[in-house]
């Protein structure tokens, strides 16, 4: 199933935080706690870290496997861990109505 961002969701990347995250990543630091984007819709808000933001941005009609393949090519992450985390994250986005799926 292909994932799409709900166009009603407002979002933006936080440039300074994103730059900081990449800087830390270069040093081999853990960047999980650094928010690089914010999403909100009807009072529900989410702050996403670097990987989560990239997953969100890839919800443009790709399926989960394509999203994971894209990320594993760009980030040094364990594919199994990423697959599990991404699936959980996408489920949450779906549950909140931030994304929808089409066949």
């Amino acid at each position: 199933m292909r994932a799409f961002r709900n166009p009603d969701v407002l979002w933006r990347e936080e440039d300074e935080s994103k730059a900081q995250a990449y800087e830390e990543l270069e040093k081999g630091e853990d960047v999980e706690a650094i928010g690089t984007s914010v999403l909100f819709s009807d009072g529900v808000m989410l702050s996403l870290n670097l990987i989560a933001t990239e997953i969100w941005k890839l919800c443009d009609g790709r399926d989960v496997n394509e999203i994971i393949a894209d990320l594993t090519g760009r980030f040094e992450v364990d594919p199994d861990v990423l697959s599990k985390d991404a699936t959980t994250f996408l489920s949450e986005l779906k549950q909140k109505g931030f994304i929808y799926y089409e066949d």
Partner: protein
């Protein structure tokens, strides 16, 4: 994968495009605000400014925003440049044609103020006969035009025991969201607070009932924006993102003359959108810095809910104690 972080700019601007109003509400926060209005050219330049800073949405208010002649042009200008546009109105001037015009001008959501499900109570409180009927009519026309609607109710003596009735009313009129706003004691709300404001115990009882209703009701989002509900184990809609008041953390307020304040209920001017850069104010304002880093004082010092409520509503603390860092006077938690 979720984190908390600090934003580069407000997500939302609450923008008073006029301070003129056709109503005489007994709790109005803005009757003493400046009457000067930015001309459209200046306003457009200021809207460009907030877009450049990264703001995503703008909520027009006032006064009654529909009394601003160029409101449709202002909305269209904003929406065409990517801002999500909404408005708070008393609904009196919204007929079918106006609703369609608002839709065409890019309004995605309009909140209608409604203080009671009982027409006479609402009309008396708003100072205009027939205003309740007009508000209902506005909700119908807006929905018909494809605009999401919400009802905004400021909780006070006239309605705090009408949660079920207000909820049923909102559901019956097909609104998307019912906002129960806390009473701020600003402007006329301060002058009339003895008559209108609730006691701490009444606030506690209201929130317990409101939260129960929120959990039970289907198909209607009930919003409670008061951080003091943390002591009841409850959370505001934005709790996972920011604690305490959202003013100066997620949003800012701009008055009709361009003055910027942390929120509409805090009369501390921290800049002016015509002459100042929004990002500079957002990043450097000592007032915002202090609001974002409140320190527990008085009974807050030993309160286990402080880390979630951060002293409650900053506007109310400022209005009633003179310092927004003080404990929210509405808070029912006693000192140990």
């Amino acid at each position: 994968m979720k984190t908390n972080n600090f934003l580069k700019a407000p997500l939302t601007i609450n923008w008073a495009v006029t301070n003129r109003c056709n109503f005489k509400c007994r709790h109005c926060y803005s009757r003493t605000d400046p009457t000067q209005e930015l001309d459209s050219g200046t306003l457009f330049a200021c809207i460009e400014k907030v877009i450049s800073a990264g703001v995503l949405s703008v909520n027009f208010g006032g006064g009654e925003p529909l009394l601003r002649n160029e409101l449709l042009e202002i909305s269209a200008f904003s929406a065409d440049r990517g801002l999500r546009v909404s408005m708070n109105s008393n609904g009196y001037l919204i007929d079918r044609k106006r609703a369609l015009d608002l839709k065409a001008a890019g309004f995605s959501k309009v909140g209608i103020s409604l203080d009671s499900h009982v027409p006479e109570v609402h009309d008396n409180f708003r100072g205009i006969r027939g205003s309740h009927k007009k508000a209902i009519s506005a909700l119908t026309h807006l929905a018909g035009a494809g605009i999401k609607t919400s009802i905004s109710t400021v909780i006070c003596k006239i309605n705090h025991q009408s949660i079920e009735e207000l909820t049923e009313f909102a559901g019956r009129h097909g609104v998307h969201q019912l906002n129960f706003h806390n009473f701020k004691c600003s402007g006329l709300g301060y002058s009339n607070k003895d008559e209108l404001d609730l006691s701490s115990q009444e606030w506690k009882e209201f929130y317990i009932k409101a939260m129960k209703t929120k959990q039970e009701v289907k198909g209607l989002e009930i919003s409670l924006d008061d951080p003091i509900i943390a002591s009841l184990g409850m959370k505001t809609e934005t709790d996972s993102f920011v604690k305490g008041s959202v003013c100066g953390k997620l949003s800012l307020n701009i008055k009709s003359n361009g003055d910027i304040t942390p929120c509409g209920f805090i009369p501390i001017v921290i800049g002016n959108i015509v002459s100042d850069e929004l990002k500079q104010i957002w990043d450097k304002s000592p007032v915002l810095e202090r609001m974002r880093n409140k320190k527990p004082t008085g009974k807050c010092s030993s309160c286990k809910s402080y880390e979630d409520c951060l002293g409650g509503c900053s506007a109310r603390a400022l209005a009633l104690t003179g310092d927004f860092n003080n404990p929210d006077p509405h808070c029912w938690v006693h000192e140990p």
